[in-house]
Assembly symmetry: C2
Homo-oligomer: 459 residues x 2
Amino acid sequence: MRQKRFILQENEIPTHWYNIQADMPNKPLPPLNPATHKPLDADDLSHIFNKECSKQELDIEHAWIEIPEEVREKYTYYRSTPLVRAYAFEEALGTSAHIYFKNESTNPLGSHKINSAIPQCYYCKQEGDTNVTTETGAGQWGAALSYAAKLYGLEAAVYQVKISMQQKPYRSAIMRTFGATVEGSPSMSTRAGKDIITRDPNHPGSLGTAISEAIELATTTPNCKYTLGSVLNHVALHQTVIGLEAEKQMEMAGEYPDTVIACFGGGSNFGGIAFPFMRHNIKDGKRTEFIAAEPESCPKLTRGKFEYDFGDEAGYTPLLPMFTLGHDFKPANIHAGGLRYHGAGMIISQLIRDNYMHGVDIPQLESFEASMIFARAEGIIPAPESGHAIAAAIREAKKATEEGKEKVILFCLSGHGLIDMTAYESYINGDLQNYSITDSEIEKNLEDVPQFDINEIEK
Amino acid sequence: MRQKRFILQENEIPTHWYNIQADMPNKPLPPLNPATHKPLDADDLSHIFNKECSKQELDIEHAWIEIPEEVREKYTYYRSTPLVRAYAFEEALGTSAHIYFKNESTNPLGSHKINSAIPQCYYCKQEGDTNVTTETGAGQWGAALSYAAKLYGLEAAVYQVKISMQQKPYRSAIMRTFGATVEGSPSMSTRAGKDIITRDPNHPGSLGTAISEAIELATTTPNCKYTLGSVLNHVALHQTVIGLEAEKQMEMAGEYPDTVIACFGGGSNFGGIAFPFMRHNIKDGKRTEFIAAEPESCPKLTRGKFEYDFGDEAGYTPLLPMFTLGHDFKPANIHAGGLRYHGAGMIISQLIRDNYMHGVDIPQLESFEASMIFARAEGIIPAPESGHAIAAAIREAKKATEEGKEKVILFCLSGHGLIDMTAYESYINGDLQNYSITDSEIEKNLEDVPQFDINEIEK
């Protein structure tokens, strides 16, 4: 019988995360203090984040960072996740490609997010914090953070993007099941939220806005740290367990990916699966193609500008060197709430500049069409976010078929869509639409980005 | 690092299902034709079910029935499921017991139901059917059947218990995602449904009612077979993959269960995990205790009567020898929709008479309290049905702690509760209640059961 699932033994689960910064030929530009425009150090970051993550964030020296024993202990509750050869999906497509997916949907809380929630809460606990706060879009990160906080006896407060909260009411129930406090963002509980509501009472919220609120809470609450589910370097670092496992599992399958694909919001799931393979492009001359699948309606990778910009709407974060649509960009209300973010992480942005990877834009309807094909073949209903990766995989599979090639495609199934059934219902009923955006709209939105001469800083 | 998850290689997945009927010292009494009161043979059943399942239903000779190669091929998309040593749950309870759970919640569609949906649809396809129909309560079975039907290119029509459909709207969306037609039951699309609605326009539905409707559709539609997700012998037979895997996995863990626990609706998940272990009680003198956890509000195992009764409300099924509360019993609207059924399967009923197992009654609030403890420890939100097994496991763990024993407890986590978040929300808000039932209510409901002298039939 042909083998479909490749699973590692507990003792094969990675002992170290992979820090691609150490191997990058051009390091990411430094984050800047918005007041002084001076590069930040770990001490600056640790007013918001725990110390260890602040250190990891700026570490450009160590390619391998040890996973604390207690974090590995928690990982082994659900890892390794299966690497699956998607024979049924291949047959549904009639493709000559070999398609593998790394299934992070069977994780606690149904997505990859738990991989970083656990270490972030672990470090906070170690450093004497009692509270954590965060933002969440679709709620995948908020749910994971709520559970991880409970594991370490921390109180969690989550700002959830209002539109996503309304679209996916079950997710806030999940967070409350784990004892978290959940606020729809923009909320009246912070100055940032109040300002936004005052300007625009019907603001649907965005990750940028929710981040502003959570940071404000963290900086005004004793022993409370802010945690982030994507964008930052240390989050992608934690997620590299995905790719490191997948590397061993692909070896078990006797293949190596020609193409690695993941959906793209802030870059943590993408970096998680891609970076461990990308190191072989950087160091060993491999020529794997890396594709980040973003929504057509939020095209920062393909149509954004590389600039120093804020990570949040209100401008509380450091200035980050990123491909951005402008920090006050208001993404369309697509169901892939986790992809509604205006910028790309610093590492990713540099890797795009250096041509190690590229983005593709997926219209909402194409993502759901792809998800339906996948679900009916493999029996797993994908998160709308993951649907973007599947759509990109289908495009690549079609190309391979046309060229008659047995191309090996690996994508990350970052989560399941069981909490997103209203979105599927809308799709089936023909009520979903695509949202595109014009160049002039993008131009206009970029006007608010602080202007720097990047070349100047690179010197 | 202590090992938590035990997973089999693909070539260790069972090649045969275990048919406990062949080993039972006292065989189940035969199902009877309601008109003639004569025992039924496989031909009689095959008007409703596919031929192979009809044969399996009455097979008291073969202890091992081969799993068709094509079914095993589908099983290996998601099996083996993990056997997990629940250290975090043990720590939350402060128990001396060793608690293991077999995690069927990571299956496609989130429950054990797929294990029987696949072979049932496979056999229908093999025998030339084009359509399948069924009933579903919470929707776990309907979802699994919809996907399995799609895998084999069959059209599926599902009657979902109306109250469950309202409580869990996402489940019908899942079924529609897989292309199934979904009707709330009682519906106006069958005579049985119309009769019930006429008598009681606000009838919330029950599995018994939905079964009547599905059978009526199957018997009035060409090339359409009825499929059932529990109660019958062949369904429990297919589910024995769970226990057979668990047996090997417990061996990997170096332990053998003192107690095996599962929630109980019709008996398929219970039989699935219990029968393979029970064979060692029957044949090898093991003394494992088997506990079926049923809702306090639907106590057929502990307070029902052993009688010949119909499997459905309208009286379309054969007469089955079962512990029953009466085929027109209206269970309270608890959230564990899959446990709202009036009777126990034939095999289970005989095993209870012969003291190989017993039932326990779990109040709704106790089941949710148990689920909350489990969720916060293990990160998996259990289906409300599975919450009953967890509550029973907690009771047993407490006993073990009081006795200072390292008792080994194994339970089946039959499914996750991500589609049941409204139930958790109600529980957290204090809006849930217990439902008990008086002896005289049970007595009264049993009056409609056809009266036979069981002793007479046993001769």
